[in-house]
Structures are given as structure tokens and as C-alpha cells.
């Protein structure tokens, strides 16, 4: 296997997901790097197979069949040694490199513990999430729960890894020791290998390292890294994240069925799937100096990633959150509980009884692989998607505050503002690009539906570009970017991201009366007007394609089209597949209270976007 980027021509990458193992082939062609073939097969970590490599080999075989390229030495059965033909002189055979990500068996599941909820515990959550973990619970000395409740909770959960933090270096030790005692009292058992000790990472006050190790050594395999919060003004997540990745490979992956073999097939560490997606989005945003929000909405969970400039505008800050129980199938009923029936109903362009909504969504929950056949059923699922995205994004905005994932300093003054409404990093007016991933967005029958779902869910402001991940390739590109970042970005732009288009949403005073909010021009020629409370679409087939100069001119000095009140927004854009949506609804969106009026208002939006209902 080769890892020198210049020597790479054919690269095979898998993402071993909970249900499906997706394999893709990246190839260097005369016109550059492309994603060429794709194969998938059910993931085989469960009994009776209980060997992840069987599913991977099935996915490889599908690629061999479709592409006609022979790269397997063995087929049809799992083997201990590397099963690939490495390309030599005959360029038509073999591969140069194999890489993989994994979220099989529910991904990396962690408990994080700190002393203060909004300080060390929050930093610990950020470290775990950034490393690609699902945080099962965040415990802290001040989280409002009784000690016995916390012990019960820890016992009930079976994490892969626990991250324990607390205290600044040289500060008081007793609090973090109390948290360690809590872990001892609960004696949590690891998810894999019941006879093994639970891996615990200690990243707290360095002075308490020995005592914490002493307390926990009987029940856990404990290793320490630099403090996550060495001082009040500093957050240092990287050492903890690196050790989480290391533990993930050593203690989690190696015990998962068949992973021992899979790890030997690749010279590059297997990454947790969300960690790989996060890396791709982070690197892409920084290289292009873009502020980005990306969401992957799955059956059970919704991951949200963001890259925004910090409050001083000097540095890009990456954040990831995962809403573990907001999804489109296994967790669909949880979206219903959180959004309430009214929250889902308000997006529907027709009447549907509460009972009908409840029964349909519960039936989807118990039969998760079924797909909408009728338009009303599709619209119901898309309404649920809006709410799942909206709720996940709210959750994300709460965590994407203050400190960054990189080592950086904050002033004492910032600390004082931390507990009293810290400044959010997410700034919708500054947001350049929204990326959507997951079946409900990527496979929406009409791309305009995907665009509208994201516009509604995030309530975008000003001018924002929207895109979808064509076939959920971001994990593959993320792990590939650890070897060849330029090639990964080339494929991202050419084969992964589908540019849907742009949304223009002026913000205006609630009492604003005039019907026209802004004039939109392309290359100096008017193409449309943003009308108050209306949503309209200028389809791309009426405005051409390629890069064009866009101007949005507010009609009044109180209207903000993304660059400040009364200021025109001028930007070069690339016309997307759908076109440009003009959204005249104010923020937050005001839904008509009367049900009939609301339905006809939604119908008008669907009509304007030529969407069926």
C-alpha cells in the first residue's frame, strides 16, 4: 500500500456504518481526481456473521463487478491477510491504498465528566464531539442531579470511553477527585468486552492526576493527558482528542467484530465517521475562507458541524454537535415529541389530523426502511426533517459558543460573560454555505425540496448558498484528506457537493409595511423582487449557469440583506441547479395562526416553487 500522495492513482475507501457499508473508488484521471464507482452492502457486525470485513468484501465485490477493475486477491470470503491486489506495472488492476471510517455498532459512545457544567464539562463535551463521539451524557458536580441519580445514570450507560476533566492546573483538587469517586461508585462497564476494564481519559488538573489514577485504577484502564482547561482563559482540546482517537482504535475498534482484520488492511488509522466528516468540512471551510454549516440527518441521529469566525474575526472555530435522538426513522417519534404535532403540522400544505400524523410516524419508526409513496406522505417526512434540523441546529447554537476547538486564549473579561449569555459563534448573516447530507435531503425527488427544507429549518438570513452531499461521500473524503488533502477537495467540489443555489432573505422591522423588500439583479439586470411574506423561486433554467455577479438592493434603509441595514449586497455567485430563492418571510418566521390561512399560505409557497402537494 502507498501513502505518498504523488504515488496514488486508485484509492478504495469504505465507511462502515451502522446499517450499510459504503465503498467508493477514487481515481486520478487525465482531468484530475474523480469519484468513479460505488458499492454497498449490509454491515456485518451483528450476529450471525459478526465480522465487519464480510460486509466490506461484499461492497468491494460490487465495485469490482460494476467497474470491471480487478483489485481483490480473494473474493467471497473473509481473510486474515490483506485481500487487495496492489497496483504494480499493470495499471488496470489493483489499488494503491485502502482507507476506512467507521460508525458501526452505534459509533464511538462516550460519557464526559467535569466539575463545572459550563466550564470543564462543556470543554470535555466539545473535545469528545470534535473527535467524532456520541456523548451519552455530560456529568458535572453542579449539574443539578443528586449523587445517586448520577451513579444510576452512569451504571445504566455502557460507554466505550469516559473523559474525566476538572480543575485548572495547580487549583483545588478535591472537586475533580469527587467526580472520580462518583465514577468509582458507579463502576461503569465497557460496551465491548465485559471482562475488560473501561478506558478512562483523565484531562483535568495535573496536580490531581496521581490521586485520580489511584482511585480509578481498580476499575478502569486510565491514561492522562494535558488538562483540557489548564487555566480559566485557556481551552486545550487537541491532546484529549488525539488520545480519544488512539483509544478508539486500541480499545473500541480492536474489540468490535472483525475490526482486528480490517485495521491490518489499511496503513492509515480508521477514523470515526463523524470525525472524518468534521475534518473535511473544517479543512474545506478554512482553505476557502468560508463560514459553513453542515448537517447530516440520519435515521437515528443528526450531526451538525459549523465553522465560523470567532468574535474577533481573527480565527475560524470548528464545532460539532450530535443530536442523538433526532432522526428520520428510528428516532422519528422523538422528533414528534420534541417538535409537538403542531410544530410538524405547520409545514404541511394540507390538513392532516393529529392521530394520522402520530400513527404514520410511529409506523415509520417500527418499519424504518419503508419510503414515502404518496405526495402527502413525502411532505410529512419533509416536515419532520425541517423540525429535526431546526432542533438539532438550536442544540448546536447552544454549544457553539465562546471557546474554540483550537488552543486559544480568551481575556478574563470574556470569562465573566461566559455564564451570562455568552456570545454565539453562529452568525446567520455571515454564513456563506449550508451543506445538507442524509437520504431525506440528498435523495429528495425535487432538489428545490431540499433547498426549501434547509431554508425553513435554519431560517437563513441575508444571502446564503445551499448544497447537498450527492451520495454521502464526506466521511470517505475526510479520511482520504489525511493522506491527500488536495485530491479530496477536488473530488468534493466535482463529485460530492451539488450546488442547489442561493437563498436571499432580507431582515426587516416587524412593522415594515411596503410589499417590496429588495431588488435582485444578475449582471446588472433585474431578475426579481423579494416580496414581503412571500417565497418565490427563480429557476436556474431562466437565468443560465456559471459564475455571475449578483446584487441585492434593499428598498429601505431599515432592511438588511446580509451586510448591514440599507447596504446593497454584491457578490459573485455560481448559479446552482435549482436557482435563487427569494424569501420575504421575516425572522423568526411568522406562521398564520388560523389553520386554513396557514395551509393556503404554505400552498402558495409550494406553488411558487412548483412543488407538488
Amino acid at each position: 500500500m502507498r501513502t505518498d500522495p504523488l504515488a496514488l492513482i486508485t484509492v478504495l475507501v469504505t465507511d462502515c456504518g451502522s446499517t450499510t457499508t459504503k465503498a467508493v473508488l477514487f481515481e486520478k484521471k487525465p482531468d484530475g481526481w474523480r469519484q468513479t464507482f460505488r458499492g454497498e452492502a449490509p454491515t456485518t457486525v451483528e450476529e450471525p456473521v459478526a465480522d465487519v470485513t464480510v460486509g466490506a468484501l461484499n461492497a468491494f465485490t460490487e465495485i469490482e463487478e460494476i467497474s470491471g477493475r480487478k483489485f481483490l486477491r480473494y473474493s467471497g470470503h473473509s481473510v486474515e491477510d490483506v485481500p487487495f491486489i496492489v497496483t504494480e506495472s499493470d495499471q488496470s488492476k489493483g489499488i494503491d491504498l485502502y482507507l476506512s471510517t467507521s460508525s458501526a455498532g452505534g459509533g464511538l459512545q462516550m460519557i464526559v465528566c467535569g466539575v463545572v457544567k459550563e466550564m470543564s464539562a462543556e470543554s470535555a463535551a466539545r473535545a469528545a464531539l470534535g473527535a467524532g463521539a456520541i456523548v451519552l451524557d455530560t456529568l458535572s458536580a453542579d449539574d443539578g442531579r443528586e449523587e445517586h441519580e448520577k451513579i444510576e445514570r452512569i451504571r445504566h450507560l455502557k460507554p466505550d470511553i469516559v473523559l474525566l476533566t476538572g480543575g485548572i492546573d495547580g487549583g483545588t483538587k478535591s472537586h475533580v477527585i469527587e467526580v472520580a469517586e462518583l465514577l468509582l461508585a458507579a463502576s461503569p462497564k465497557p460496551r465491548f468486552g465485559e471482562t475488560l476494564k473501561l478506558p478512562i481519559i483523565y484531562a483535568g488538573n495535573k496536580e490531581a492526576k496521581n490521586e485520580v489514577s489511584e482511585i480509578l485504577k481498580g476499575i478502569a484502564h486510565i491514561e492522562s493527558v494535558e488538562n483540557i482547561r489548564p487555566t480559566l482563559e485557556e481551552e486545550n482540546l487537541k491532546p484529549a482528542r488525539d488520545l480519544i482517537h488512539d483509544f478508539f482504535l486500541k480499545h473500541v475498534m480492536s474489540h468490535a467484530p472483525g475490526y482486528g482484520k480490517l485495521l491490518k488492511w489499511t496503513p492509515v488509522p480508521v477514523m470515526p465517521t463523524p470525525g472524518a466528516v468534521g475534518k473535511m468540512i473544517h479543512d474545506f471551510a478554512i482553505r476557502r475562507s468560508l463560514q459553513v454549516v453542515a448537517a447530516d440527518i440520519g435515521g437515528a441521529t443528526t450531526d451538525v458541524f459549523s465553522v465560523f469566525k470567532n468574535n474577533k474575526g481573527s480565527e475560524f472555530v470548528f464545532n460539532r454537535t450530535v443530536s442523538a435522538n433526532l432522526g428520520m426513522s428510528y428516532s422519528i417519534a422523538n422528533v414528534l415529541i420534541e417538535a409537538k404535532t403542531a410544530g410538524i403540522k405547520r409545514w404541511l400544505p394540507y390538513e392532516m389530523s393529529d392521530n394520522e400524523i402520530h400513527d404514520r410516524l410511529r409506523n415509520k419508526m417500527i418499519r424504518p426502511t419503508s419510503i414515502p409513496q404518496s405526495i402527502d406522505d413525502l411532505n410529512l417526512e419533509q416536515a419532520v426533517c425541517r423540525e429535526a434540523l431546526r432542533l438539532s441546529f438550536l442544540h448546536h447554537r447552544k454549544l457553539a459558543v465562546g471557546l474554540s476547538g483550537q488552543r486559544q486564549s480568551r481575556g478574563i473579561a470574556d470569562i465573566f460573560t461566559q455564564s451570562t449569555g455568552r456570545e454565539e459563534l453562529v452568525d446567520l448573516k455571515a454564513l456563506d454555505l449550508v451543506i445538507g447530507s442524509g437520504g431525506v435531503l440528498s435523495h429528495a425527488p425535487d432538489r428545490a425540496q431540499a433547498l426549501l427544507m434547509m431554508l425553513d429549518a435554519y431560517e437563513l438570513e441575508g444571502l446564503t448558498q445551499l448544497a447537498v452531499d450527492s451520495i454521502f461521500m464526506l466521511p470517505h473524503l475526510g479520511v482520504f484528506s489525511t493522506v491527500h488533502p488536495e485530491a479530496a477537495e477536488e473530488i468534493l467540489m466535482r463529485d460530492c457537493l451539488i450546488n442547489l443555489g442561493h437563498a436571499i432573505a432580507p431582515i426587516y422591522p416587524q412593522k415594515f409595511k411596503d410589499p417590496i423588500l429588495a431588488i435582485v439583479k444578475l449582471e446588472g439586470k433585474e431578475i426579481g423582487k423579494v416580496r414581503k411574506d412571500e417565497v418565490t423561486l427563480i429557476r436556474s433554467n431562466s437565468i443560465g449557469s456559471g459564475k455571475v455577479q449578483l446584487s441585492i438592493e434593499p428598498t429601505h434603509k431599515t432592511i438588511d440583506v446580509g451586510v448591514g441595514r440599507g447596504e446593497p449586497n454584491l457578490k459573485e455567485i455560481e448559479i446552482g441547479q435549482v436557482g435563487i430563492v427569494l424569501d420575504g418571510r421575516n425572522r423568526p418566521i411568522n406562521f398564520p395562526q388560523d389553520e386554513k390561512e396557514r395551509i393556503s399560505w404554505q400552498q402558495k409557497i409550494y406553488d411558487n416553487l412548483t412543488l407538488k402537494y
Partner: protein, 372 residues
């Protein structure tokens, strides 16, 4: 192929159940033993709760003083203590204001923190036993961890359930036309009975059945609201089995107003009055777990054990549609086009054509049917 394979409903099948301990313990049977469903096959000692005694904070003294005082009292790691036994006695200024700290429970001193002076007392362990759940023969043992029991009998899977393992006598509610259950359908005495029949029980009916002693209720469908009231909370994710409910509830078809399929109902009726093992545990994810009804029987009237039916769709396959607009309808596959077909939503999907039992000829995505 993307479709939901049919749930099991087999008169006679080889059934193997692996019973596992959550922690390493003891195996109480050996390979070849014959066990009853209620026999204990595994046991373990669950570690007791750890009480953390924050003595220095409680008495307002330094950790060093705590360590000195407990040493004087001969308290050390591994020492057994009784509830109320003195852990520490501390004399205040000039020997005045003596204060004591007593153990809150019977247990063993597990640790003494040199930094904080905190003392951990672990309560005695409590026994945990695992029963066989189904009668049969022990065929495999992983010492101290698991036991596999094999038997032959009927197995029926539901689509969704709540509540854990129960053993009882199957009792047919004899509800004509499989209608909604009324209070009159519930026998006045249901102790250890697993009731089956009917659909959409109200919360009052469910509670009444449980009150009269039923250990299980098997119905075609349930109303979302009744389920929420029975559980006492809204169920968000389809992972069940640990609910604190008096009676296990198994739904064979789904939510709404669906009747138990003929195939399942006729099978259940064959075992009316027989002992069955049921479990409502459901996990709708990879490695899906569905609720189950198992009746072990001698299989006298059927010599051959049924093999699992083919899991692939074929012309003539009997199906049920599991999504609107034909939700709940039964039919037969009449065409299986290979190419992707445009459906009403505008998506292209692999479809089949089916003749429904009411005579309609319909096109349905293959993902939206299950074999019956």
C-alpha cells in the same frame, strides 16, 4: 434487496435462546441438562452500592485529621463494617465536642482517599439469577457468562412491544372479526394468562387486563395515545423491553387500527391454553430485535420442522403493504419489473405490482411491502 422481510410466524421451528449474564458469574447447569422455562440457569453477585463518606466536609475537619482518626479507630481498606458502626471519632478543641461518624450501611471499606479523606463503603452484593425462559435442552455453555438452550416449537414475532420476558398460558379472547377489545372480552380472572385477539385496546382495557392478572396482551395494533398512557411517557425511540409495566404488550401489525393477520391469529389459536414465553423487547436498528411469542411443543402432528421461508420476493408471493396509500392491505405479487419506476412522489424506486385482496391492481415500492 430493499424490503422488509416478513416477521416469523412458524408452527414448528428449531429455537435456540442464549441466556447471558451482564457480568461474570456462575453457571448452574451443564450441557445436556433438560430445563424448564422457570429454572435458574445462571447467577451472579451484583456489586452493592458504594457510599462515599465525605467526613471532612460533614465534620468540618481537615482530611489529615480524618485520616489520623480513622487510623486510630483501626479502619482500613477491606475492613467489614456494620450499619451504625463508628468509622471515626474526633475530639474537638481541648478534647471537647466529640463527634462521631457512623457507617450508613453494612459493607466493606473499599477506599480511603489520602487527599480528601473521603471513605468509600461498598454495600454487600445482591444476587442476580437468570432463568431458562424456554423449556429445552442445554446445548452450549460459556462458563460464568452464558447458556444456550435449544428446543422445538412455535415462534411468532410481533412488530413492536413493551415490557420484558413473561411466562404464562395463552388465552384466546375470541373476538369475532378481530374487532377492538371491549371490557366484556377480558375474563374476570386472568392470572398468569397471555391474552390474544382483537385490536386497538383503549388504555382502560389495557389497565383492566393487567389489573385482572394478565401477564401479556397480544393485539393487532395499538393507538399511539393508549401506548403513551400505558407507559406514562411518550416513546421517542424504538428501543423497548425494560419498561416498568405490569403486563407485556405485543403488537403484531403496527399503530392504528390493524387486525392480527390470519396467519398469526390461526397459529395463536392452535396453542390456546398452552404455556408460552413472551418478550416485548424491540430494537428497530441494525441487528433488529422484535417481540416474540414462543410455545414449545412436541410437534407430534407435524414431523418436519419448517425451514425459514424464502426471504425474497417472487411472483405469487403473498405480501402486505406497510405504507400509505395502501397501508395494511394484503395482496399477491403479479409483476416484478427490474427497472426503476417513477412513483407519485417523483422519486424513482424499485417497485412491484400486486393484486390486492380487494381486487385493486397497484404499484408499490418494494421497500414498502413485507412477506406474509
Amino acid at each position: 434487496m430493499a424490503f422488509t422481510p416478513g416477521l416469523k410466524a412458524s408452527y414448528s421451528a428449531q429455537i435456540a435462546k442464549t441466556r447471558e449474564l451482564p457480568l461474570v458469574g456462575r453457571t448452574l447447569v451443564k450441557v445436556g441438562d433438560t430445563v424448564k422455562s422457570t429454572d435458574e440457569v445462571l447467577s451472579a453477585d451484583l456489586p452493592g452500592n458504594l457510599h462515599i463518606l465525605r467526613i471532612s466536609e460533614k465534620l468540618g475537619i481537615d482530611p489529615d485529621e480524618v485520616l489520623d482518626a480513622i487510623q486510630k479507630n483501626n479502619v482500613s481498606i477491606g475492613k467489614k463494617v456494620k450499619q451504625g458502626e463508628t468509622i471515626l471519632e474526633h475530639s474537638g478543641l481541648f478534647g471537647l465536642f466529640k463527634s462521631r461518624f457512623e457507617s450508613p450501611c453494612d459493607g466493606v471499606i473499599e477506599y480511603i482517599s489520602k487527599t480528601s479523606g473521603h471513605v468509600g463503603v461498598r454495600e454487600s452484593s445482591s444476587p442476580l439469577t437468570i432463568t431458562a425462559y424456554i423449556p429445552g435442552k442445554v446445548i452450549n455453555i460459556s462458563e460464568g457468562k452464558s447458556v444456550t438452550i435449544e428446543s422445538q416449537g412455535a415462534i411468532i414475532q410481533g412488530i413492536f412491544g413493551v415490557g420484558g420476558e413473561k411466562i404464562g398460558i395463552l388465552h384466546d379472547l375470541n373476538i369475532t372479526d378481530n374487532k377492538a377489545i371491549t371490557e366484556a372480552d377480558i375474563p374476570s380472572e386472568c392470572s398468569n394468562k397471555i391474552l390474544f385477539g382483537g385490536t386497538s385496546p383503549s388504555i382502560e382495557i389495557i389497565n383492566e387486563a393487567a389489573k385482572r392478572g394478565a401477564v401479556g396482551l397480544i393485539v393487532g395494533a395499538i393507538d399511539d395515545q393508549a401506548l403513551t398512557e400505558y407507559l406514562g411517557y411518550d416513546l421517542g425511540v424504538a428501543i423497548t423491553g425494560d419498561e416498568d409495566v405490569p403486563m407485556t404488550l405485543i403488537v403484531t401489525e403496527g399503530f392504528g387500527n390493524l387486525v392480527i393477520s390470519n396467519r398469526v391469529l390461526s397459529l395463536l389459536k392452535k396453542f390456546n391454553g398452552k404455556s408460552g414465553s413472551i418478550n416485548g423487547a424491540t430494537q428497530v436498528r441494525a441487528g433488529a430485535v422484535r417481540p416474540e411469542i414462543i410455545v414449545i411443543h412436541s410437534n407430534e402432528d407435524k414431523a418436519v420442522i419448517e425451514k425459514d421461508k424464502s426471504q425474497s420476493l417472487e411472483l405469487g408471493s403473498q405480501i402486505r403493504v406497510i405504507r400509505v396509500p395502501y397501508f395494511g392491505a394484503y395482496g399477491q405479487v403479479v409483476e416484478l419489473p427490474n427497472e426503476l419506476t417513477l412513483i407519485e412522489t417523483g422519486a424513482k424506486a424499485r417497485v412491484l405490482k400486486a393484486k390486492l385482496n380487494d381486487g385493486r391492481l397497484v404499484t408499490v415500492p418494494r421497500a414498502n411491502v413485507e412477506l406474509v
